[in-house]
């Protein structure tokens, strides 16, 4: 068969019109705008309430009547806040994943992918348009996380200004990669299954059950490179005093092998989207 046709992207890619069409679709799609705003509000709410939640755990951590074994600590202290909040944000990424699934499966249920492609957008451009939107979305959400962290940090009573610029700022970039990889996985599922309900179901099933079963049957040094594991490992669990209580000590930085794994996964996911859309009838 045409190997070149299947494995190399088309020679002439012009993403500009495709992206403009994506912006028209998204900005006028009220459901998308509202869910995005709710997601961002939810993120901020979680950032605000986490301190009280942790205080509660800390106070109740010892035996009744004894002094708690851990001192109260602030989540919002620079530079740890960069890691704390981006780690926290990672736990809410299922919401934007649903959003991306809806955006892509919409095209198939309205049959608009067909109209767009027969009007003169190539299949590859159609996919790359979605991937660029996912990239922009990941960057904007991470910026929001960074800005929230900055303001929550400087509004504390004691601020160590010299600690604002720290290597831990890289966790915001790690959050971009985390979200981008995760949303591309969701997009791949959407391109394969095409129906909103089925895609959401399969994606949940994979996240909650399937990957865990696979992980249990693999040695740990391999299972930690499964997609969701690698994505989750990008931002390690913060080493708060509370964590030290459990006697665990997590890494303080993002590891290059997790970054490499995620970059490879992104290439694989986009490649599989190409294969799926090029091979099938519209």
């Amino acid at each position: 068969m045409h190997i070149n046709k299947l494995f190399l992207p088309a020679m002439t890619l012009n993403l500009k019109p495709t992206l403009k069409t994506e912006f028209i679709k998204l900005l006028n799609y009220r459901t998308f705008v509202i869910i995005t705003l709710i997601y961002l509000a939810l993120l901020f709410l979680v950032f605000l309430s986490i301190q009280g939640f942790l205080n509660n755990i800390t106070i109740n951590s010892g035996n009744q009547g004894e002094a708690p074994p851990v001192q109260l600590f602030s989540v919002y202290k620079f530079p740890d806040i960069w890691q704390n909040l981006s780690y926290l944000a990672g736990h809410l990424k299922i919401f934007p994943a649903f959003l991306i699934i809806i955006l892509i499966t919409n095209e198939f249920s309205f049959n608009t992918h067909k109209q767009i492609i027969i009007s003169g957008v190539s299949r590859d451009e159609f996919i790359l348009g979605k991937v660029v939107i996912i990239a922009i979305f990941s960057i904007l959400v991470s910026l929001m996380v960074g800005i929230s962290a900055f303001f929550l940090g400087i509004f504390q009573s004691e601020v160590d200004y010299s600690a604002i610029l720290s290597p831990k700022l890289w966790f915001i970039a790690a959050h971009v990669l985390e979200l981008f990889t995760y949303l591309n996985l969701a997009a791949l599922f959407a391109f394969i299954f095409r129906k909103t309900g089925i895609t959401v179901l399969v994606f949940l099933l994979y996240s909650v059950v399937i990957e865990r079963i696979i992980a249990l049957n693999l040695p740990e040094n391999i299972s930690s490179f499964l997609p969701l594991q690698a994505i989750g490992n990008l931002i390690p669990v913060p080493n708060s005093p509370l964590m030290k209580l459990f006697g665990v000590n997590f890494s303080e930085t993002t590891h290059w092998n997790d970054v490499t794994a995620c970059i490879i996964y992104n290439v694989v996911f986009v490649f599989l989207m190409f294969v799926v859309l090029r091979k099938r009838d519209l």
């Binding site: 679709k25 109209q115 492609i117 027969i118 009007s119 190539s122």
Partner: protein
């Protein structure tokens, strides 16, 4: 003449169904082709393949002498099956999306919206539109970017008589401006009125393709009726120049391979002892020809 589209031995199989079987067609610039056939005869399959939406099982096709590409598709305006738009976007926003792809400006969006009579409703959401309005919006989007070729699959679906007449005028107008049009329809009248060429498909097979005038002027149809219609049907096959016949409401539609005047036929039948109760020479319509082709084919299969 400049060849716009060349289809060679195109076939498509869906599981056990042969949707299209060895279809070959050459379309030149400025021609208006009607692809005729009953539902499920392979019209939409053919159009989907040449628009790159469905992959053929065998055969090949070329647009403007090349393989299909997104650049070629930008020069082809298409309306395929049902109108497909974003329900939550207005008519204008839906057209803005297509206009981005086909490099048309806002003025042109206004022009096509006015042309299909949707300008007043341009800011209404697509999901509030009636079927006829949706179909007209699809036509408007097919016209965006002044395409060199227009592909219309059942363009008058869901339209009222005025709308149908407007589409006809539109097609004639586009053709007179040099556009090439390929129109799939099961409405024969429509094809006869606007097309210069016709291809008849049935069960995926191409039964005929050629000039419409050729079909229409080739031969005449004579409608004959008699009391003893069974005997008439038998005797009539011995008439010189007999080609085929079809029985319709006790009347026999007779196709002859040469021009015959009705008096000749009348005296022939009289000699055989049949008295006509009805004798009528009809100008052959596309409908007659089409039904003849289709019934011949299903006859051959039985």
């Amino acid at each position: 003449m400049e060849e716009v589209l060349n289809i060679k031995n195109l076939s498509k199989r869906y599981g056990s169904v042969q949707a299209l079987n060895n279809f070959t067609l050459s379309v030149n610039k400025g021609e208006v082709w009607g692809i005729l056939g009953p539902n499920g005869s392979g019209k939409t399959t053919t159009l989907s393949i040449i628009l790159g939406a469905v992959k053929q099982s065998r055969g090949d096709y070329q647009w403007f002498g090349n393989q299909v590409s997104s650049e070629a598709l930008q020069k082809i305006g298409a309306l395929l099956e049902h109108p497909n738009f974003y329900p939550y976007l207005s008519a204008t926003d839906n057209l803005r999306i297509i206009a981005q792809i086909r490099k048309a400006d806002n003025e042109e969006i206004k022009r096509v919206l006015k042309f299909v009579n949707l300008y007043e409703r341009r800011n209404h959401k697509y999901q509030t539109f009636s079927l006829g309005m949706k179909q007209r919006l699809a036509l408007a989007s097919a016209m965006l970017g002044k395409p060199e070729v227009l592909i219309l699959d059942e363009p008058t679906n869901g339209l009222d008589p005025t709308g149908i007449a407007e589409i006809r005028n539109l097609i004639s107008q586009l053709a007179s401006e040099g556009s090439t049009v390929i129109l799939a329809s099961h409405l024969l009248d429509e094809v006869q009125k606007v097309c210069t060429h016709v291809a008849v498909l049935s069960k995926g097979k191409n039964l005929f393709s050629g000039n419409v005038n050729q079909v229409l002027s080739d031969e005449d149809v004579i409608e004959v009726g008699a009391v003893e219609s069974d005997k008439l049907a038998e005797v009539i096959q011995g008439f010189p120049g007999y080609k085929s016949h079809r029985i319709n409401n006790n009347l026999i539609q007779l196709s002859l391979s040469n021009h015959t005047d009705t008096a000749q036929l009348n005296s022939f039948l009289f000699e055989k002892g049949i008295v006509c109760t009805h004798l009528f020479a009809k100008k052959r319509s596309l409908e007659n020809y089409y039904l003849e082709l289709i019934s011949n084919q299903s006859g051959a299969h039985q």
